[in-house]
Symmetry: C2
Subunit: 338 residues, 2 copies
DNA sequence: ATCATCCGTGTAATCGATTCCATGGCTCTG
DNA sequence: CAGAGCCATGGAATCGATTACACGGATGAT
């Protein structure tokens, strides 16, 4: 593969001049420029990004570590992150932690070794020593969706409290009183916040959230299934199950079906995170939608700000309730999404 | 950040010795080894992968260019590709082409510039000049799922002909005679092959596939919706719609619902590509499942073979039919997947 | 005892770019 | 017309690793 030296030889100039042309440095004569460009063209020269990175100490690459690529919410997030990063001239390397802290650490380490310019993380746990070290070590970093208290890094996330309040009011209005929730891992912020928001919203309406109505999940479908089986086995099962993410909602749906029950007639179901498939399930599922694209864009911009010496800002955007048929009532096939 | 020189100084040896220890070169005294390791530990030294790559001319990174990350089939593929690559000591950079050839070219170019060791591609089109050039240029490359005729590169894919035949027999057995298909883009191999397999299977049963029953899609939901609307507007609409991928099936489901029809009573539906969500749609959708994990593993291994000087092999694995309720008949909620 | 081998180690070249500094020619100014 | 300043350019240092080569000392064979 042709190098800068070959181009210099072909154009009859020095490598310094070639480099200047390629980086549009002002001090280059028009004649040299055209000669270099012609040489680049005939040789099909492409600069070696590895060599350039070594010298300039920047890779124009961002690392994105997410907890589960198979979760459509994160897939979508990743897609928009890449889009915005590309617009800003960065590439993205995605690391899938699969909700496993040690895998998360593995990815963070390789990304750092590769000298990525910045790191976007949705932590799978409450904070590995490594993550703290990296943040303190000066690597530009931004948390997205989830964050870790005590690590001083900008956070870009959605605030679901308003939407959860709307949801609880909606359920209350439909006559439901016994509401249960499948929580996410206690080690994640989203795992806790959603339960708290739910509990608060219920309290405001004078409803209690007994411990038996709090299932412990891990953001995976199987845990949603299990938690729901427990709910259904209670002497007084809940009238509504609210899953803290979309995969657990699917597990819940499974468990309900397996029990021979029907949604929403026998039991209602709602989920945090709206995904396209919820329109097509039986029945379509009422969900809380996050502004995924905006979150992704804001996160990338915050990270780019940090990298390029500007002051990054934490961003919190509101989530909103999308009512479908899974909780009963008249709300029908409305095109409330997209 | 500490460099190899700092480690050498700390350990009281030369950089060469440090490098030897780190690369487990045999000619190092036990004493030097422990001293270097200790120095590495106290300094928290991590080798700079960029510098190493420049010198060794390998990045231990694979590029994966897929046509649509939001398509669960490709998401899953990407996830298993990363898993296998990691097991083999490679990182993966994913490029999402969004079914747009120019975006695909962009990703290929940046990946080449970054000197990835090999490229895994599921081409979005019939073959850009760039792709041909890269393949000819000696970059190790493997096609996965889709491929480009005329480019001599190993192909790892699923063969759906058997499963399609099973599907058509299943439909025929249920009494369906007017079968329609929503095809993928003609520029993709999967777009054509699936139609051909369908047509052949029908012919064997003495059925014709009229042009009006071939919808042109682009593997996106919207195109499935459109094609289905056309089918339903025909004087004699089909009894079955078979979508060549999962997103178009979803679009078809939308169109059928919008028309006020019911699946499978009014019209049957089946899809190529099985995804977890198909279990939860209304009704669960009969689909042709690809062995995604095996495909991903085979593709990565073929690429690693090529990179490491062994002879890579093309691999074709059979897809299989998973019967659910969307085509009618007795096939019920069976757990036929996973 | 002598010479060849081998082993552990260090010095320096190398990968392919960017960039500091020196240089020579030119223009501008006083 | 001389000195200052600027511009285009090239030579060489540099980034942080790997590795070819040289070298001295120890070991083994004859």
């Amino acid at each position: 593969m042709a190098g800068i030296k070959d181009v210099a030889a072909e154009a009859g100039v020095s490598v310094a001049t070639v480099s200047r042309v390629l980086n549009s440095h002002p001090s280059v004569s028009e004649e040299a420029r055209v000669r270099v460009l012609a040489a680049v063209e005939t040789l099909g020269y492409r600069p070696n990004a590895v060599a350039r990175s070594l010298r300039t100490a920047q890779t124009r690459t961002l690392g994105l570590v997410i907890s589960d690529v198979l979760n459509p919410y994160f897939t979508e997030l990743a897609r928009f992150v890449e889009e915005e990063a590309r617009a800003l001239g960065y590439s993205v390397i995605i690391g899938n932690a699969d909700e496993r802290p040690e895998l998360q650490d593995h990815h963070i380490r390789t990304l750092i070794d590769r000298r990525i310019d910045g790191l976007l993380v949705s932590p799978a746990d409450g904070g590995s020593p490594l993550m703290r070290e990296v943040a303190l070590g000066g690597t530009p970093m931004v948390f997205v969706d989830r964050w870790i208290p005590g690590i001083d890094v900008p956070v870009v996330r959605a605030d679901g409290t308003g939407a959860v309040k709307d949801l609880v009011a909606h359920l209350h209005g439909l006559g439901h009183r016994r509401l249960a929730i499948i929580a996410g891992p206690a080690a994640t912020t989203t795992g806790n916040e959603r339960v708290e928001a739910f509990r608060d919203a219920m309290r405001e309406l004078g409803l209690a959230l007994p411990d038996a109505y709090i299932g412990q999940g891990d953001f995976q479908a199987a845990s949603g299934r299990l938690a729901t089986q427990r709910f259904l086995a209670l002497a007084e099962p809940p009238e509504v199950v609210f899953a803290a993410d979309n995969l657990m909602a699917l597990g819940a749906l499974d468990a309900i079906r397996a029990r021979g029950l029907r949604v929403p007639d026998d039991i209602a179901l709602a989920a945090f995170d709206d995904i396209p498939w919820f329109v097509h399930t039986d029945p379509p599922i009422t969900a809380i939608a996050q502004p995924t694209a905006d979150l992704a864009r804001a996160a990338v911009r915050a990270l780019a700000d940090r990298i390029e010496g500007r002051t990054p800002q934490s961003v919190t955007l509101p989530a909103r309730l999308v009512v479908r048929r899974s909780c009963g009532g008249a709300a029908s096939n409305q095109r409330s999404d997209r």
